[in-house]
């Protein structure tokens, strides 16, 4: 492109000079060309640049060689070349360079191009060399890459294996973790941790909630383990191990409880009134699974309690309460009822308190029953057995001092009434105790014994009293027919005893039981009295024939009856007594009949009449001759007018008016019957009484039996 641009510009310069020479423009190609050249705008940027380049190229004046040199040098010292043309331009003719340039342009150009190409070639040669080097590098790199790839492949392979390994390992690990969790769960479920073991075995950990929890855990482990082992044909080692170790811990735990209990018991047992804490209750509850250990613990408890109760009892007996109030029980030893009663009441109260203590110890809920009221033993629970046994032990030791004192008191009693009262009191407590602590308890049996002793003493006393009564003799000079002092005293004692007995009845006994409870006493007291009445009076009768023994005996007996009367439980004895009385009444009636017959003077005649067998007429018998008969009838009539008919003087001495009437009327009845018999006999023709009717009718009651009944004031029974 450089050449076309250069050409027009140089031609333009030429043309400018030509036009000035011709001076007339014409229409020819040159003109056209000129105008075109003239019209050319040299201000065009590209053109200016091209010109610039050209001018730079030819800036150096001189020959071609010079130019050549300049061009060659131009690469080395460009600045020097630019400065030179300015000097040459001024020196040389203008246009000289341009002509030279026009001439050489092509060659210069080609030369320039060749030079440039040469330079290119050279440069490319270098480049090629570099590229070759690069090629080498690339090849080397390629080789390295291949190598790396191989390595990579290898690595990949091995890492795959590693990964696999790692995967399996992590699986294994997971598995192991699982196992570990299971094992630790198993262990936590089936073994005790350190704390628990410590709680079970160490003496430093008190028996308490923590300890009990550990115990529970141990128990739970054993239960679970047993369940697991039940499913196996042979017990696994682990199972056996677990059982063995837990068993040892459990035993240690139980031993710890026992130790603790024994210690606690020692502490608590010293007070009379004690309370059972929840820990103690729990301890006892657990120990019940180990009866032998429980026994051990409870044995020490019962020993302590025994000693405590014993010393409290002795304190109450001899020292009394604080500062002597309430007063010691023994202070009242002179008052046997109070003394014995206080002791027994103390024991009763101690039992009630002990019962509460034991109930709370065994966590037995009190049944709301009132102690003293009847205790029912429906179910034989284990707790009840324990409680009973412990109770028995605790209060059993009281028996000895109690027994000694009660016995002393009993034996020193002179009054049988007091003896009886004591016996009754003892019996009351015996029944109460039986109901509270059972019949087999030592205290019950002891009370039973003491009661028996008391009763024996009492019976001995009243038997002795009976014997003394039998030995007593009557005052011979005493003509009275009332019961003697001995009987009165005796009856008084009996009366009091009966009062005591009556008040001792609980009210739920039936009549038979009531009577049975007193029969022996009645036998012992009433029988000698009856015996004494008859025997001693016989003696007196012998010595004092005029003394009316029958009335006396009847008086005594009816007195005894009156004593027994108010008490319903004496029915049986009263019946016996009544029989004796009846017998006596029959006897007395007979006597009385005889007496009044004799008094009335018809006894002989009546006797003959009664015996008459008809072998001989009565009028021929000396005693019943009509004259005799007349006299007798007269006497009878006189007697009928007397007071004796209404009441007998002898019988009036009977204290029981009823008996008087009964005997008297019976005798009169018989008398009336005898009179009737006499009348009948007299009236009989074979007895050959002349004017029998007149004979009988001469005197009252004129042979009329009915009239006689009326006189006697009796209803005719014929």
């Amino acid at each position: 492109m450089a050449s076309p641009v250069v050409s027009p510009s140089s031609s333009t310069l030429h043309f400018n000079r030509n036009t000035q020479a011709r001076a007339t423009p014409s229409r020819n190609p040159v003109t056209l060309r000129l105008s075109k050249v003239l019209g050319t705008n040299l201000n065009d940027e590209a053109t200016r640049e091209a010109l610039q380049t050209l001018s730079e190229l030819y800036a150096t004046p001189g020959g071609t060689s010079k130019g050549k040199e300049t061009l060659h040098n131009g690469d080395d010292e460009l600045g020097e070349e630019y400065a030179k043309p300015d000097e040459t331009l001024t020196e040389t003719v203008p246009g000289e360079s341009a002509a030279r340039a026009r001439k050489n342009l092509r060659r210069d150009m080609e030369q320039k191009l060749a030079e440039g190409s040469q330079q290119f070639l050279k440069a490319f040669g270098e480049v090629d060399q570099k590229l070759e080097e690069l090629q080498h590098h690339v090849n080397a790199m390629h080789a390295s890459c291949d190598e790396a790839e191989t390595h990579l492949k290898l690595t990949h392979e091995s890492s795959t294996r590693l990964l696999e390994r790692a995967g399996s390992l992590s699986e294994e690990r997971q598995e192991v973790e699982n196992k570990k969790t299971i094992v630790s769960l198993f262990l936590s479920r089936f073994t005790l941790n350190e704390e628990e073991v410590e709680a079970l075995t160490s003496r430093d950990i008190p028996v308490g909630q923590r300890f009990f929890k550990a115990m529970d855990k141990t128990e739970q482990i054993r239960t679970d383990c047993r369940v697991l082992m039940a499913g196996e044909e042979e017990p696994t080692l682990a199972g056996v191990d677990i059982m063995a170790s837990t068993s040892s811990y459990l035993e240690q735990g139980y031993e710890k409880i026992v130790r603790w209990c024994s210690y606690e018991v020692l502490q608590m047992g010293r007070d009379m009134q004690v309370e059972v804490g929840p820990t103690m209750r729990e301890a006892v509850r657990r120990l019940r699974k180990r009866p032998e250990l429980l026994t051990e613990a409870l044995t020490s408890l019962s020993q302590t309690r025994q000693a405590t109760i014993m010393s409290s009892f002795l304190t109450a007996l001899t020292r009394g309460g604080p500062s002597g109030l309430p007063r010691p029980i023994e202070l009242h030893a002179h008052d046997p009822m109070r003394y014995v009663g206080d002791m027994l009441a103390w024991v009763h109260q101690a039992i009630a308190a002990e019962r509460e203590f034991l109930e709370s110890l065994f966590s037995v809920q009190g049944d709301g029953r009132m102690v003293g009221s009847v205790r029912v033993f429906p179910e034989k629970s284990e707790e009840e057995d324990w409680i009973r046994e412990l109770m028995d032990h605790a209060v059993g030791k009281l028996c000895v001092p109690l027994k000694v004192r009660v016995q002393q008191t009993i034996r020193s009693q002179e009054s049988s009434i007091i003896s009886y009262k004591i016996a009754n009191l003892l019996q009351f407590y015996m029944i109460t105790m039986r109901r509270t602590i059972g019949e087999l308890a030592v205290m019950s049996t002891t009370l039973n014994e003491i009661t028996d002793i008391a009763y024996k003493v009492f019976y001995d006393a009243i038997e002795a009293q009976g014997r003394a009564l039998l030995r007593s003799t009557l005052d011979l000079d005493d003509s009275s027919l009332s019961p003697p002092l001995a009987i009165l005293d005796h009856a008084q004692v009996l009366r009091e005893i009966m009062n005591v007995y009556e008040s001792s009845l609980l009210g739920d006994e039936n009549e038979v039981e009531q009577a049975a409870g007193f029969q022996r006493i009645l036998d012992v007291t009433v029988d000698p009295a009856i015996e004494m009445c008859s025997s001693s009076s016989e003696e007196k009768k012998r010595l004092r024939p005029r003394w009316d023994r029958e009335v006396y005996v009847l008086n005594c007996l009816s007195y005894l009856q009156s004593v027994l009367e108010p008490f319903p439980f004496t029915v049986q004895k009263r019946k016996t007594l009544q029989e004796v009385v009846d017998e006596m009444v029959v006897h007395l009636t007979e006597e009385h009949y005889k007496n009044i017959m004799a008094d009335a003077g018809i006894d002989e005649i009546a006797a003959i009449c009664a015996k008459h067998d008809g072998s001989e007429p009565m009028s021929r018998i000396p005693a019943t001759l009509p004259t005799q008969l007349q006299t007798a009838l007269h006497n009878f009539s006189v007697w009928l007018s007397g007071l004796e008919v209404v009441q007998s003087q002898r019988l009036a001495l009977l204290t029981a008016q009823r008996l008087h009437m009964q005997i008297h009327q019976a005798a009169l009845r018989r008398m009336a019957r005898s009179y009737q018999l006499i009348c009948e006999q007299v009236k009989k023709p074979e007895n050959r009484y002349e004017a029998a009717a007149t004979l009988l009718g001469s005197e009252r009651p004129f042979g009329q039996v009915n009239l006689l009944w009326q006189i006697f004031g009796l209803e005719g029974d014929v």
Binding site: M272, L325, D342, A345
Partner: protein, 261 residues
């Protein structure tokens, strides 16, 4: 589960008590002693109650302020024939409930005899509460409230402390109230009233629960407290702040040196 059982039992700790007191219940036969007691212990009326035979026992724990008190109750037979038996139970009682029947004048007239027995046989510090029972039968009333109240006031007696050098007199007041064991009206009051009086006696040093035969003893709970503070406090009862009480008591408890009033 066993562990839970144990927890449940642990809460039973409430059953422990501070004091144990012995009461005796006396009065004429038929005045309703057993029914009163039955209502107190069972919270129900005792139907067809029979005469008590001898002496019967029951117990209950009550709460008085912050104190838990276990009452051992001895119910006696009122019948004359059991007198010799029941008399032995006065010994060692800390409190007595003297019961009469407001519809039966005789049961009231005989009170003096019962009181005399109680004073003669029980400890001199015996706290007596007079209870007019059967207050539900107001129509059949034979004993007026005022009369009984007067009787109670007149029969609060002076007695002398034995064993205290200065022998200071103190009054055992007889509290009085009417109750009904049928409706349960006022049934708990006499028991609590007596317990309160006894606690006050202990506080004033007249009664010592440590001593046997006083009718009062410490429970486990109180003992534990004694061990920890070495001195019992009755703050809840006397209404004074706790801390102060302990200090005061420490001074007041030395026998023979107190009696500020």
């Amino acid at each position: 589960m066993p562990t839970d059982d144990y927890e449940a039992e642990a809460t039973e700790l409430l059953e422990t008590y501070d004091f144990l007191m012995k009461y005796i219940i006396i009065g004429e036969a038929g005045s309703g002693k057993s029914c009163l007691l039955h209502h107190f212990t069972h919270n129900s009326f005792k139907e067809h109650s029979q005469h008590t035979i001898g002496v019967e026992f029951s117990s209950r724990t009550v709460k008085l302020g912050e104190k838990r008190i276990k009452l051992q109750l001895w119910d006696t037979a009122g019948q004359e024939r059991f007198r010799s038996v029941t008399r032995s139970y006065y010994r060692g009682a800390a409190g007595a409930l003297l019961v009469y029947d407001i519809t039966n004048r005789e049961s009231f007239s005989n009170l003096s005899r019962w009181l005399a027995d109680a004073r003669a046989l029980a400890s001199p510090h015996l706290v007596v509460v007079l209870v007019g029972n059967k207050s539900d039968k107001d129509d059949e009333r034979e004993v007026e409230w005022a009369e009984a109240s007067r009787w109670a006031a007149e029969n609060g007696v002076f007695s002398f402390l034995q064993g205290f050098p200065q022998a200071s007199p103190f009054i055992t007041d007889i509290h009085f109230l009417e109750a009904s064991s049928l409706t349960g009206d006022n049934v708990e009051a006499p028991f609590l009233l007596a317990a309160r009086s006894i606690l006050l006696s202990i506080e004033s040093g007249v009664l010592d629960p440590e001593k046997a035969g006083s009718g009062v003893s410490y429970g486990d709970r109180a003992l534990r407290r004694v061990n920890s503070s070495s001195r019992l406090s009755f703050g809840s009862l006397s209404g004074r702040p706790r801390k102060g009480t302990i200090k005061l008591k420490a001074k007041g408890w030395i026998p023979g040196t107190n009696k500020c009033c």
